[in-house]
Symmetry: C2
DNA sequence: GTGAAAGCGCTAACAG
DNA sequence: CTGTTAGCGCTTTCAC
């Protein structure tokens, strides 16, 4: 290796040993001065530091990790960093992590179990001190087992995996969905669709387990609110797997015909965007002919005409709290696992009105 | 360490040595079988592999890096992962990196030189094989020097730093800005503001060096187009530092009074959003009373009413190409540094019209 | 095809 | 306060 590396890297990077001999002290002393641990006399420290930057010394964090067992790195695996939700949560986590002296290794799972498993394997191999994951599945925990087995702390965010019993940070999705739906019900709607892109090949059945806990909770909140309004078979209004058909295509289907819905609860802002577009294409006026509410206060929901009423989630905080919990564990906390449920809050805009008579 | 780690991690993770003795072979042989290098007989390999998963062996990537000098990790430092531009570029980079077997360490610089310097230091300490950076400054290269000195490949994206002479991937911002501005000019506008949040304490002067090369190029394209239209002192229409005052506040100022502009070129979609909001608050109709164009095809520009005409950038590709270039270097390419300039493309929507007579 | 031993750069006892 | 000596877990000559 040394040859190739030398060819690639120009000269070999200087090490503690180099600095030590340059400063005329032992390796241990140099290491102590450089690593800022143990005790070194000021004179020697200065000499070592001087030698160090004369040589352009840069510590090798990996070597340090090898001997200390701590990498000061945490891994985060998200569905897709391009998704505004994950971008914000990641930022929240990164900020907390950095403040505590940790770096972040990022992986995208694409919500795919196999990809997720591989990502987790890599992170573990890199000996991260702990892992933050938005699990691809809430009901299948096999992917996460290796991190438990490794003994490294794991904190889940956005998605809960109950059977694992680990620290988790989620939003109050059930009550959020209930409130959002109730808003529509109170406006007089009864034919309301809930739309999510969660992969789900078959029609949704009552009290079925869903792969994504936030979607599951939202579905519950939604059906609860409908049931409370006296709607029979509310589960028939739940439409999952929207990605397969295409959100806009599905939306067009839901919004037309004799049994068209008069309102839609979008499980996230991307779904809402598809519905919004479909409505526009169909020439349906929001809110006069269609009421629309969604989760997440995305940019576009604020400037669209009309503004979209949304249930905003404290996304930054979800990431930040998850990181805080993780770091506490890394520092050795032995408290029982907790689940933090953060409140969502309603932002009322102009996308809800009474259902129109002529539909 | 061993005690504490043992306490934290449950049992110690098994190592090549453990697997070796479990399989009854030497450490070297076990390592060869596990690491898939050198030559091992099939029989032995099977025995080793069996032993390995009996023990739940997981390779220690750090130890491997220590001896091989390669970490299979690349670092990426962006301004802010929450910014859609960086999120997309990061995703593009992550995808090609993963395909090539590399992982990503992510840092946010917040466009702050000091933060950036620290982030780069950390990445270097972690011995990334190469670095992808959207430099906080295009004219001050000190932060990047350490990576050059380290001998590790560096690829810049979005922001060029000419004096460094390293591989760079950028978009054709100058022509993009020219085309966008020309659109306004051709519609009859002469009083057009260019607005950016680029930190810049003083009023913009002609041919001044700017910290951000994309903004610099856009400003050039903008002033060129104005000059070509016979506008004198086009630089007077360049408004930087919009964050300090607040985009909306600045926009309100630009849009009112006797010398109000009739059109705005927004340097990014966040700026455009601020202008859009300001216009709405002022009750100005777009495009009748104000024409607005912007860079980046953000979600909201598609669903806002009216749709915003934008210059779309191939953001994924910027990240992906940067990663490709970097990986080629990591693999040892010695070609002269190249600068890849990717085309932008215009998406015409409804936010441009002739200036209204009554303003 | 397999094994023994050295070494990557650092930290951590343990002496002095 | 400083130096010596072992490792951390892996790869890599070099013999056999």
């Amino acid at each position: 290796m040394s040859e190739e590396a030398a060819a690639t890297n120009g000269r070999r990077e200087s090490t503690v040993a180099d600095v030590a001999s340059e400063a005329g002290v032992s390796k241990a002393t140099a290491a102590r001065a450089l690593g800022d641990y143990g005790a070194v006399s000021d004179a020697v420290r200065d000499r070592v530091v001087a030698a160090a930057d004369r040589l352009g010394y840069r510590p090798n964090a990996l070597a340090r990790t090898m001997s200390t067992g701590r990498s000061n790195t945490i891994g985060i695996v998200v569905g897709d960093i391009e998704n505004m939700f994950f971008a914000k949560a990641t930022r929240g986590a990164a900020d907390v992590a950095n403040d505590a002296g940790f770096d972040l290794i990022l992986s995208n799972s694409d919500e795919d179990g196999a990809v997720e498993a591989k990502a987790i394997g890599v992170q573990l191999a890199k000996r991260v001190d702990g892992l933050l994951v938005a699990a691809a599945s809430s009901i299948e925990s096999a992917n996460l087992r290796p991190v438990i087995d490794s003994g490294r702390p794991l904190v889940l965010f956005d998605r809960a995996v109950p059977e694992l019993g680990v620290d988790t940070v989620i939003a109050a999705n059930r009550s959020g969905a209930r409130d959002l739906t109730r808003l529509l019900v109170e406006a007089g709607h009864r034919r309301i669709a809930f739309v999510s892109t969660l992969a789900h090949p078959t029609a949704f059945q009552r009290s079925e387990l869903l792969y994504s806990s936030p979607v599951a909770e939202r579905v519950e909140g939604f059906t609860d609110a409908l049931a409370a309004a006296g709607v029979s078979r509310p589960e028939a209004f739940v439409h999952l797997n929207a990605r397969a058909e295409g959100v806009e295509v599905l939306a067009r289907r839901l919004l037309t015909g004799s049994d068209a819905v008069t309102a839609v609860v979008a499980s996230d802002s991307l779904v809402a965007l598809g519905v919004f577009r479909a409505a526009r294409e169909l020439g349906l006026q929001i809110p006069r002919e269609l009421s629309l509410v969604a989760f997440d206060n995305a940019d576009w929901t604020q400037v669209a005409t009309p503004g979209i009423t949304v249930m905003a989630q404290p996304i930054h905080e979800i990431g930040a709290e998850a990181a805080r919990l993780l770091i506490r564990r890394i520092r050795g906390s032995k408290e029982p696992a907790t689940t933090l449920v953060l409140d969502q809050h309603l932002i009322v805009r102009e996308s809800v009105a009474a259902p129109s008579r002529d539909r």
